[in-house]
Amino acid sequence: MGKEQERIKIRTNDFNFYYGDNRALHNISVEIPENRVVAFIGPSGCGKSTFLRSMNRMNDVIDGTSVKGAIVINGIDIYDKTVDVVELRKLVGMVFQKHIPFPKSIYDNVAYGLYLSGRKNKTEVEGIVEQSLKRSALWEEVKDRLNESAMSLSGGQQQRLCIARAVAVDPEVLLMDEPCSALDPISTAKIEELIGELKDTYTIIIVTHNMQQAARVSDFTGFFYMGNLVEFDKTRTIFTTPSKKETEDYITGRFG
């Protein structure tokens, strides 16, 4: 099966990113298929997180950054002047490396995004909170303590709560920035299993240091090195018969 048969969700076109004068991403062109898990791997500072954070314009909050080229989601260039960043971020949700819930109750953490859009209907919000917690495989563990502080949860539970929080606003794309790097192996396994389930509903892009994780969870893998997307292909291809020498050196552990 070739990429031709996939429906493309996100397409980037010679995308460049600058921190001041420092060019962090070089002409990134990639097509990300819908309802697939795409992993970006590469050594620290290679630009994979910057690229991920460009897809919901999270880098906008950093002073002195600029972009060139396009990232097209659902046919719209998200860096176009007419795009409302707030609406974009509802469409493209994000899960961060540090599992920091808001210092609020479990319920309010999940309902936060709904309150933002002014949805206050109690039964509606309750329904979405329950559904989101079920989707992030946390419901059974927290259904009797929804009003307790989210800080009382374990690290792995907190990260699943962060996923529930992101899922609640009904995004189409989920960005995950090293979602397991602060978790123990059991919690990591749960999150990875969850990623597999979530891809039926969402297009998932995950940045990870952990090559085994990329191999386990993703359908497609991209290798970033020094701000360039060196290679992008089916995960199986990348890990068995990469076409670039840098990719092979990296996945066989010769550097990075």
Partner: protein
């Protein structure tokens, strides 16, 4: 061997010890001077003042040329003054801190100007604030309101009053509020802000629902520190509303008021019989000290809790 090296190696062990002893000695003496002064002052006032503090002293008005009765009007006036001050100054200070930490581009000309202004305000002698209060608040703002309302100048607002003293003090304490609130805002983790933004929150929603609730203790600390500082200042309020004595307690913000610090000044310098007034003077000092110490102590405790939370 170079002469320098030669010189060093010939300095005897004894000389080294003497020098070291002096170096340590000077620093220790410095410490003792500070500690001793603070203790002497505190104990002196406590010993002389505490025995005269009674319920009567705290709850009654002064009588008989301030030699009898208490200082209730001054306590009441000071409290009224600093609360009004906090009400006026904390929102402005919080807004400024929000601008500086959340909105301003750090290198922009305006942000730099605001920072410069905050530092300048912190260094202005307090008596200057008093003069500013007279010129700006009483004559310009107060007189302006009166004449706009068609009254002759000084009818309602254009005279020394509690509101103008509070306004003057709130400007004097602005730097304290701004610095404290800024510190609290910066202590809110970047990840929390980003998580909120990533869920489609606007910048203002993020500030209102995430940043401010997580900085409340810091805003509280800033307010308490400001109140502590404001409660102890006398110079700026002499011209703008504090008075020797009052027949009645102030009931509104356009009334004049008595004030602990000013009362102390009056007791110390304006009494016909210095000896008869002395006990009242000591006791007033203790009340003022307790008030400002208590406020600063509370603020220090809250602040150290915030710092611990941030590190933890």
């Amino acid at each position: 061997m170079t002469p320098l090296r030669h010189h060093r190696t010939t300095r005897s062990e004894f000389q080294k010890k003497v020098l070291g002893f002096f170096a340590v000695g000077i620093t220790v003496v410095g410490g003792f001077i500070v500690f001793g002064t603070a203790m002497f002052m505190l104990l002196h006032f406590l010993i002389k003042g505490l025995p005269h503090i009674s319920w009567e002293f705290l709850s009654q008005a002064p009588r008989n040329n301030n030699t009898e009765g208490g200082i209730f009007p001054a306590i009441y006036g000071t409290t009224f003054l600093v609360l009004t001050m906090a009400l006026l100054g904390v929102p402005v200070g919080t807004a400024t801190a929000l601008y500086l930490t959340e909105y301003a581009k750090q290198q922009s000309f305006f942000a730099k100007s605001v920072r410069f202004a905050v530092n300048t305000l912190a260094g202005v002698p307090s008596i200057v604030f008093g003069l500013f209060g007279v010129g700006f608040f009483i004559q310009f703002v107060g007189g302006g309101i009166d004449s706009l309302a068609g009254m002759e100048g000084g009818a309602v607002f254009g005279h020394p009053a509690l509101i103008w003293a509070s306004a003057t003090l709130s400007i004097l304490t602005l730097p304290v509020v701004i610095v404290s609130v800024e510190e609290a805002l910066k202590a809110v983790p970047r990840e929390l802000r980003e998580a909120s933004l990533a869920l489609g929150a606007t910048k203002w929603q993020t500030i209102w629902k995430i940043v401010l609730p997580n900085s409340l203790t810091g805003i509280l600390t800033g307010s308490i520190l400001a109140v502590g500082r404001g409660a102890g200042e006398v110079a700026p309020i002499i011209f703008v509303g504090a008075v020797y004595s009052l027949p009645e307690l102030p009931t509104g913000v356009t009334d004049q008021f008595m004030h602990l610090g000013y009362h102390l000044f009056v007791l110390a310098t304006q009494s016909p019989d210095v000896d008869a007034v002395a006990p009242q003077q000591y006791a007033t000092t203790v009340v003022l000290l307790m008030l400002t110490f208590g406020l600063n102590f509370t603020a220090t405790i809250i602040r150290s809790r915030i710092r611990k939370k941030r590190l933890g």
